[in-house]
C-alpha cells in the first residue's frame, strides 16, 4: 500500500515536470520565436539599453535567457515555474500568475457548479432509469441522454445565447457581472454580497446550463449502467430476504455501490471541465482562464497562453492524484487490491 502511494506521488511529479519540459520546447518552437521577436522589439524601441538590460527584460517576460546554452535556459525556466513564476504577459505588462489568479476563481465558480449540478441530475435520473429498466420512461430518457451527450457543449451554448440571450433577452450574453454592480463579498454587507452573488450567478447561468445539459446525459448513462449491474447482484436478494426496507436497499446498497466507481471519474472530470472552458468561455465572452488562453493565442502573448496551459495541467494532475489516493478510503473494496481500481 505504501509503495502504491509512493509510486503515485512520483508519477505525479514526473508528469508535471514533463509537461513543463514540453511547454519549454513548444514555447521555443512557436512561430517567430517569441524571445527573439520581443528582443528585436526592445532593441528597436530602446536603442540606449545595454545588452545585459535587454536580456534581463526578456528573461523577466518569458522566463527564457536568450543567449544562454539550451540546458541553462531549460533549468532556469523550470526553476522559475516551480517558484510560481509563469513569466510576464507581453501585452498586459503584468505577471501571468496575476492574470490567472484573478481569472481562476471565476472559472472554478462556474465549472464546479456546472459539474456538481450535472452530476446530481445525472445520477438521480440514471438511478431511476435503472429501476424502471425497459419502460417507456427509461427508453425515452436513454435516447434523450445519448442525444444530449452527442452535442458539443459550446453548440448548446450558442443556441442558448441565441434564444435566451438575444431573442428573449432573459439572460445577459457575456461578462462576469453587470457593469453597475459593485463587486462586494463580505460578511459586513450581507445584502450587497447576496445581490452581487446573484448577479454573478445570473451572468454565469447560460454557461453552466450548456455544460450541464451535455454532461448530465453522460453521467445518467453511466449511472444507469452501473445501477443495472448492481441490481443483478445476489446480495440484493439477501438484503430483501433480511426484510430491509426498499428505501434502505435503494440508498445504501444500490445507490452507494453504483455511485462509488463514478467518484474517480468526477475528480478527473474537474480537470477536463477546466480544459473544456477554453471554447465555452470564449462563446460567452466570460473572462475565466480558458478565455485568457485564447486571448493570449490571438495576441501572440505566448507566456499567458502557456501559463494557462500549465495551470490547467497541474489542476488535472492534482485531481487525478487526489482521486487515486482517496479512493481506497471511500471504497473499502479497493483497499485490498492495493488501489488498483481502474
Amino acid at each position: 500500500m505504501q509503495q502504491y502511494y509512493l509510486e503515485r506521488t512520483l508519477q505525479a511529479v514526473i508528469t508535471v515536470v514533463s509537461v513543463m519540459t514540453l511547454a519549454f520546447f513548444l514555447l521555443r518552437l512557436m512561430p517567430g520565436n517569441p524571445a527573439d521577436a520581443y528582443r528585436a522589439e526592445l532593441i528597436q524601441n530602446n536603442p540606449q539599453l545595454s545588452q545585459a538590460d535587454i536580456d534581463h527584460r526578456v528573461e523577466q517576460k518569458l522566463n527564457v535567457l536568450p543567449d544562454a546554452p539550451l540546458h541553462e535556459q531549460y533549468i532556469n525556466y523550470v526553476a522559475g515555474l516551480l517558484q510560481g513564476d509563469l513569466g510576464e504577459s507581453i501585452n498586459e505588462g503584468v505577471p501571468v500568475s496575476e492574470i490567472i489568479s484573478e481569472a481562476l476563481p471565476w472559472t472554478i465558480f462556474t465549472m464546479s457548479l456546472a459539474l456538481l449540478l450535472s452530476f446530481a441530475i445525472g445520477i438521480s435520473f440514471g438511478a431511476i432509469m435503472a429501476y424502471k429498466e425497459g419502460s417507456y420512461f427509461d427508453n425515452g430518457l436513454s435516447v434523450l441522454s445519448i442525444f444530449c451527450n452527442s452535442i458539443p457543449n459550446y453548440i448548446v451554448g450558442i443556441l442558448s445565447i441565441w434564444f435566451l440571450g438575444y431573442q428573449l433577452e432573459l439572460f445577459p450574453t457575456g461578462g462576469r457581472y453587470s457593469t453597475e454592480m459593485e463587486p462586494t463579498v463580505g460578511l459586513l454587507e450581507p445584502i450587497q454580497t447576496l445581490a452581487f452573488l446573484g448577479d454573478a450567478l445570473w451572468h454565469a447561468s447560460l454557461l453552466i446550463l450548456s455544460y450541464t445539459v451535455v454532461a448530465a446525459g453522460g453521467w445518467a448513462l453511466r449511472m444507469r449502467g452501473n445501477s443495472i449491474q448492481v441490481l443483478g447482484e445476489e446480495y440484493l436478494r439477501v438484503a430483501r430476504l433480511r426484510g430491509l426496507s426498499e428505501r434502505r436497499i435503494a440508498t445504501r446498497y444500490v445507490g452507494r455501490n453504483a455511485v462509488l466507481p463514478l467518484y474517480t471519474a468526477l475528480l478527473i472530470a474537474i480537470g477536463f471541465a477546466l480544459g473544456g472552458s477554453v471554447i465555452l468561455e470564449q462563446v460567452f465572452t466570460y473572462p475565466g482562464v480558458g478565455y485568457y488562453m485564447i486571448e493570449g493565442l490571438e495576441a501572440r502573448d505566448y507566456p499567458l497562453m502557456m501559463g494557462v496551459f500549465l495551470v490547467m495541467t497541474v489542476a488535472v494532475v492534482l485531481g487525478v492524484y487526489i482521486a487515486d489516493l482517496t479512493y481506497g478510503l471511500i471504497d473499502p473494496r479497493a483497499q485490498t487490491r492495493g488501489g488498483d481500481h481502474r
Partner: protein
Amino acid sequence: MSERTESLRAIDDGDAFEAVADKTMSRRERYRRLFDRWVLAPGRIIRGDVRARIGASILLLYALVGLFGPRLYTEPEVNQGPRSITPLSEGLTHPLGTDNLGRDILAQIIHATPSMLQMIVAGGLFVTVLGVTVGTTAGFSGGRTDRVLSLLTDIVMTIPGLPLIVILAALLEPQDPVVTGLVLTINVWAGLAREIRSQVLSISRHSYVEASQAMGLSTPTIIVKDILPNIMPYVLITFVNAARQVIFASIGLYFLGVLPYDSVVNWGVMIDQAVSGGAMHVMSLAHWLIAPLAAITLLSFGLILFSQGTDRMFNPRVRARHSSTTDTADEPADETTTTTGGGIR
C-alpha cells in the same frame, strides 16, 4: 469463430488426425471465410439492431455526400444567388437559402464534408494504430518497456487535451485535413493503449494463448490471431471517440479562429461567419446558423448510435445475450462510449 467450430467437428467425427491446418485451405475458401467474417456477419448484426441500423444509415449518408456531393452540387461562390434568402423561398435553386454574401448554404455544408471525413479517418487511424501498438507492446513485453510505456500513457492521459490541441494548432497552423486530424486526436491514443494493455495482460493468461505460445507461434501471429479479435470492441469505441473529438475540436477551433482557413472549409467556419454576420440577432438569418449545427449534431449522433449498436458485432458474449433475448431495449447502455464532459477530454 467458424474455424474453431469446424476443427471441433473434425474431432467429434473421430478423425481428428485428418483435421488439416488452415494453410491448406484453398485461396477461394479463405476469401469466402474472410468475407463471411468481416462483411456478412457484421452486415447481419447491423441489420438486426435498430440503433446500428440508424447509425449506419446516417454515416453512409455523410460518406456519400463527402464522396460525391462536391462533384454533383455547385461550389459555394459569392453572389451566386440573392443575398440572405430563407430556405425554399426561391423554389429549389437554393434549398437551404443563402448567406449575407449570396453563397448557397447547402453548397457550403456539402463542400465542407470531405475535409471533415478526411480529418476523422486520419485521426481515427492514427489513434488506432498508435494505441494498439503501444498497448500490445506494453502488455506483452512487460518489465522495463512496460513501465516506461505505461508512464508515458499515464502522462499523455493526464494532459488536458483541448489546451494542448490549441497550442499545437497555433504552432503548426495545419491546413491539410490529414495533419489537422492528427493534431486534434494527439491525446486520444493513450486511453486505448491503457485499455488494450490491461486486456492483453488478462487475455495472455488464457489457455488458448498459452497453447499458441507452446506451439511456437511468433508473437505478432499470436497478437493478430488470438488477441486482436478480443480487443476489437475497444478499438471501435475508441475510433468513434476519436471521430467525435475530431468533430468537437475542429468545429470549436475553426469557430474560434484558432485553426487557419481561407475559404469555408468547415462547418465551424460557417458558424463563426453566421455569428459575426448577425444570425443571432436577425431571425431571417437563422437558417445560416441552424444548418451547420444540425449537420454536426446529426453526424455525432450517428456515430454514437453506430458504436453502441456495433458493440455486439465483436463481442461474442454480448452477441450470445443478444441472440437469446429478443428485446434489445434492455441492453445496458455502453459505458465507454459516453464522455464525462460531453466534449473533448
